[in-house]
């Protein structure tokens, strides 16, 4: 007889484990309302607003994916731009084949997964800071390979085909909706993934890899799942970038700057919380919009804000907020109640 068979009915009855933190019912309602408002926005405001929001959504998607990878999977990658780039180029290539560009965005995610499978084989041989540098170089290799393919424009990049038939206003709105859907999908994916059994294993792997494998977690599989999900998300985001900018340039799309942005957003927002990248992206985006007209000084300020956050707010803004209020929009932890403890 094993322990698991010995669970007494008494213990089972007394036990109350909850998944929700305080106020999550209310916040769910608020979030639903917010989503509804966002979805209706193209009918209410001019496209200058929706158009800038597309950037915000892309940032949210990217940062969520990086947070999943680093904050929950412990895989600190500086090379996610590889998938942004592959995603962007797949959209270009699919569109050349006659696929509607918006439909090519999910296909870009699939392409990225296909590329991520063999890449993960190499990347997972590395740990910690080796992994970070290794992924950066892998992304560079992808860039150097892409610029050798003449059919996608070589070093010059290429414009997106298949968009000319669409009415300009409709195109703007469609782009907005697809971007919104992407952001929501990435957040939902993170939430569902982390709420399940896999999520807990992931966090265990992040904290202590050896011990994780000895409690029965298939470490490689767990890591690979997040890596692939993150690749898919970044790929879709890359496709989104192409769809909204209508062209792709290899140096810009494979730039390590993307990783820098992701790190920046996630660390400011709060790493290891699903809400972190959301908050971080909004702040980053706000700063960008507010200061964009001050030329280089805006970047100086942005850098300084990053430094300050890292020094004085290591758990990010959401960490601070959570300490103060206990608020959690997306509770993934477990809380044992009713123990009279």
């Amino acid at each position: 007889m094993t322990i698991s068979q010995m669970v007494t009915s008494r213990a089972a009855a007394a036990l109350d484990v909850s998944r929700a933190a305080r106020s999550s019912k209310l916040s769910a309602v608020v979030m639903l309302a917010a989503v509804a408002v966002l979805a209706a926005l193209p009918f209410a405001v001019f496209s200058n607003v929706t158009d800038t929001l597309v950037n915000l959504f892309v940032l949210i998607a990217l940062a969520s994916m990086w947070n999943l990878l680093a904050g929950f999977g412990g895989l600190v990658s500086v090379g996610q731009q590889a998938y942004i780039g592959i995603g962007a180029y797949s959209v270009i290539a699919f569109a050349d084949q006659g696929v509607q560009p918006y439909l090519a965005v999910p296909l870009a995610a699939v392409t990225c997964v296909i590329f991520a499978v063999p890449t993960s084989w190499l990347a997972f041989r590395l740990r910690g800071d080796y992994f970070a540098v290794g992924t950066w170089v892998i992304a560079e290799v992808y860039r150097l390979l892409v610029v050798r393919i003449d059919s996608v424009g070589g070093g010059s990049g290429k414009g997106l085909a298949g968009m000319s038939g669409l009415d300009q206003t409709l195109r703007g709105a469609l782009t907005y909706w697809v971007a919104l859907a992407l952001a929501l999908a990435t957040i939902a994916a993170c939430y569902l993934l982390l709420r399940g059994r896999l999520g807990l294993s992931l966090m265990a792997v992040r904290d202590e890899e050896t011990a994780a494998s000895s409690v029965g977690i298939d470490v490689r599989r767990a890591k690979r799942v997040v890596y692939l999900v993150s690749a898919a998300g970044c790929g879709a985001a890359g496709g989104m970038i192409t769809v909204s900018s209508l062209s792709v340039n290899p140096d810009a799309i494979f730039s390590v700057q993307w990783s820098a942005y992701m790190i920046f957003i996630v660390v400011i927002g709060g790493i290891g919380y699903i809400e972190g990248p959301l908050l971080g992206a909004v702040i980053f985006f706000g700063l960008q919009q507010l200061l964009a007209d001050y030329g280089s000084w805006y970047l100086v300020l942005l850098g300084a804000v990053g430094i300050a956050t890292a020094l004085w707010l290591p758990r990010g803004l959401w960490g601070l907020m959570r300490d103060r209020t206990g608020l959690s929009l997306f509770p993934v932890g477990y809380f044992v109640r009713g123990r009279g403890a």
Binding site: P42, F43, A44, V45, F46, S47, N48, D51, T52, N55, L144, V147, R148, G153, G154, G155, S156, G157, K158, G159, A161, M163, S164, Q168, T169, L170, R171, G172, A173, I241, S245, L246, S247, N249, D251, A252, I253, G295, S296
Partner: protein, 401 residues
């Protein structure tokens, strides 16, 4: 209600958006931007009549930070937030192409410059014979480079017809590889292609070795400015000293000449604009020489070629507004751009006679950098075969004499 779209503005102010790389590696192209904008605003202070109404113009400047993605973004801002009526842009395909792509997609009239037309046209999937509806360009292409460089090569006393060519893998250089290369062969030269390296290289030993081995005494290139500096120094160090260097895309500006120091002497490049060009402003009749002098007086800096080109962007834009029945009608303004013929600060431009519709061609002449008096380095026009209107200021000398 339905989708809101971009909306529009209906005032008497005509808004022109201007996109250029004011910061970043390409910033050399934009040194004159602020000055030019001021000049235009000055000239247009009292407004002008267009579409039967008195109009004023407003210019909104955006910086691409030398980054094509950023160029896309700021162009969209101009269209969506600033609701501009027309967009002009300048300097290298990294700017002109994304800007033009956005304008074409959003139906905004657009004119750009300082990018080889091949890179601009083919890089954007232009349909030959048809061109684009909203976007136009004035500059020149491979044939004009050939017309400018070949006569200088002819005049050099060289033992063979090999020409060392340093062309990286980017939009500009690929246009040279595919365009100028075959033309060189037709003219009896053999291009020694160093290979499509990546921008930002730190070592050119392989290319230098190849050039040395070929015995080439003529040299041409289309690199990004920092790479040229690296290459040229290493070439000196490793003993590749061509008799004549005719470079494109680099050594266009005095700052680059200064950065290279003594090694600048007698490097030749293409000049599509200089104070010596006999051109005049269509706005106020100011001559090229006057514009350059004003620039020097106001900023204390030496003139750059971009001065004339950027100036002309606005001349063309204003001309298009003037010619249009309704300057707020984007389709009409775009049609005027495509059909434009004018004589301006950049000489005679004809957008209907180009190699493709909507492209006006300039004819650069050959010039060399020499030690100057007022400024450390000056340009001397040494060969005017392509454009006899430009006076020659000195003799062609070997680069490594």
């Amino acid at each position: 209600g339905g989708l809101k779209g971009t909306g529009g503005s209906s005032s008497d102010v005509l808004k022109i958006g201007y996109v250029s790389p004011q910061t970043g590696p390409l910033a050399g192209f934009a040194t004159a931007d602020n000055f030019v904008v001021k000049q235009i605003q000055e000239a247009m202070r009292s407004g002008f009549t267009a579409g039967g109404k008195k109009r004023t113009i407003e210019i909104i400047i955006k910086d691409t930070q030398s980054n094509p993605n950023r160029a896309t973004e700021v162009t969209r801002q101009l269209i969506n937030s600033d609701k501009v009526d027309l967009i002009v842009g300048s300097s290298t395909p990294d700017t002109t192409n994304p800007v033009a792509d956005q304008c074409e997609a959003n139906g905004i009239p657009n004119v750009t410059t300082i990018a080889p037309w091949e890179a601009w046209f083919h890089g954007r999937n232009g349909k030959p014979g048809e061109g684009f509806k909203y976007t136009t360009l004035f500059f020149f292409g491979m044939k004009e480079f050939a017309d400018c460089f070949f006569p200088m090569w002819e005049r050099m006393d060289v033992s063979n017809k090999n020409v060392a060519a340093l062309w990286p893998n980017d939009t500009d250089a690929n246009a040279f590889r595919q365009g100028l290369g075959p033309m060189m062969e037709k003219a009896g030269y053999s291009p020694i292609d160093g290979g499509a390296y990546q921008n930002g290289a730190t070592d050119f030993s392989a290319q230098i070795a190849k050039f040395k081995e070929s015995g080439a005494e003529l040299f041409t290139c289309t690199p990004i400015p920092p790479d040229f500096q690296t290459f040229w120094k290493q070439a000196q160090q490793q003993g590749f000293k061509p008799k004549l260097a005719t470079v494109a895309k680099v050594m266009l500006f005095p700052s680059e000449a200064e950065a290279l120091g003594a090694l600048t002497d007698n490097i030749a490049t293409d000049f599509w604009w200089s104070p010596a060009h006999p051109y005049k402003s269509i706005l106020d009749g100011k001559s090229a020489q006057q514009l350059a002098d004003d620039f020097a007086a106001e900023t204390g800096k030496q003139w750059t070629q971009a001065l004339g080109s950027v100036y002309s962007l606005f001349e063309i834009a204003i001309q298009a507004f003037k010619e249009a029945g309704d300057p707020k009608d984007r389709d009409e303004v775009a049609a005027r751009l495509r059909g434009m013929k004018l004589s301006c600060m950049s000489g005679d431009l004809d957008f209907t006679a180009g190699p493709e519709p909507g492209i006006a061609i300039q004819h650069p002449v050959g010039g060399q950098w020499r030690k100057g008096e007022k400024f450390p380095w000056d340009v001397v026009i040494v060969d005017n075969t392509p454009n006899k209107a430009v006076p020659v200021g000195g003799d062609l000398r070997p680069t490594n004499g």
